[in-house]
Chain length 104, copies 2
Amino acid sequence: MNPKQMERFLKTIGDQSRLQLLKALEQKPLCICDLNTLLDVSQPAISQHMHRLKSDEIVLNERRGRWVFWSLNDSHPHYLLLQELLKLLPVPTIECSQEENRCK
Amino acid sequence: MNPKQMERFLKTIGDQSRLQLLKALEQKPLCICDLNTLLDVSQPAISQHMHRLKSDEIVLNERRGRWVFWSLNDSHPHYLLLQELLKLLPVPTIECSQEENRCK
DNA sequence: TGAATATATAAGTCTTAGCTTATATGCTAT
DNA sequence: ATAGCATATAAGCTAAGACTTATATATTCA
C-alpha cells in the first residue's frame, strides 16, 4: 500500500459524520432514512457519505424494495483496523423505524 | 473519544506527506533538513507538517544546537494503531547527512 | 559582531471536501 | 397510470487544507 492509497483510506474514514454512520452500522444494516435520524444533515448528504464509503469498499449496499440497506464490509482489508477505531466511539442513538420490519 | 476528536486525529495522519514523514521517523529521529530530502516540497511545508503532527502530540521535538530533532511520540494513546498503519507503508529513502554526527 | 545555516512564521493561491437546494430516478401500491 | 415515499444526482456555495514565496528568528562560529 502506498502513501497515496493510505491517505485516501484515512480521508474516507476521517470525517466525523462518516465515523458516526459507520459506528451505527456496526450494530446492524440500516437504510438511508434510518441513518438520516442520526445526523443533523440533509438526506443527500447522507447518501453522498455512504457512496464515498462504498467507493472505497468500506460498506456494501443492497436494495430491498424501496429501501437500500447499507452494511459494513467485513471483507475489507482493513476491517479489523476500522473495528479498533470504532470501539473508541460512543454508540449512537438510531431512531430505527419499526414499520414494515425494515430493520431486520 | 468523540467523533470530532477522532476526525481530527485521522485528518492529521491522513495525508500522504505526513505519512511518509512519520514512516521515516519510525527508523530514528530526524531534523527538518533531513526530512526535507524525503519529499519534493519546500522546507516550510515540512515544518508546517511537523507542527501539525506535534499539535496532536503524535511527534515530539527537541532542539540540539542549530537542529531540531523530531521523533515519534511512543506515549501517544494511539501509538500502537499508528504503528499498525505505518507497517503497511514502504520504507522511504532518507538522505541523512553525515556531517556533525547529526543522525545519532 | 556579523555571516552562514536551520527552522519558523506570515500571507497568499489553488484545490478539495462537505454541505446545501432543486430535481431526477426507482420502487410500491392504489 | 399515478401518487407517494426512498434514494440518487446535479449544481453551486463556503471553508479548510496543502502548498508556495518572502521574511523573521535562532544558533553557531569565525
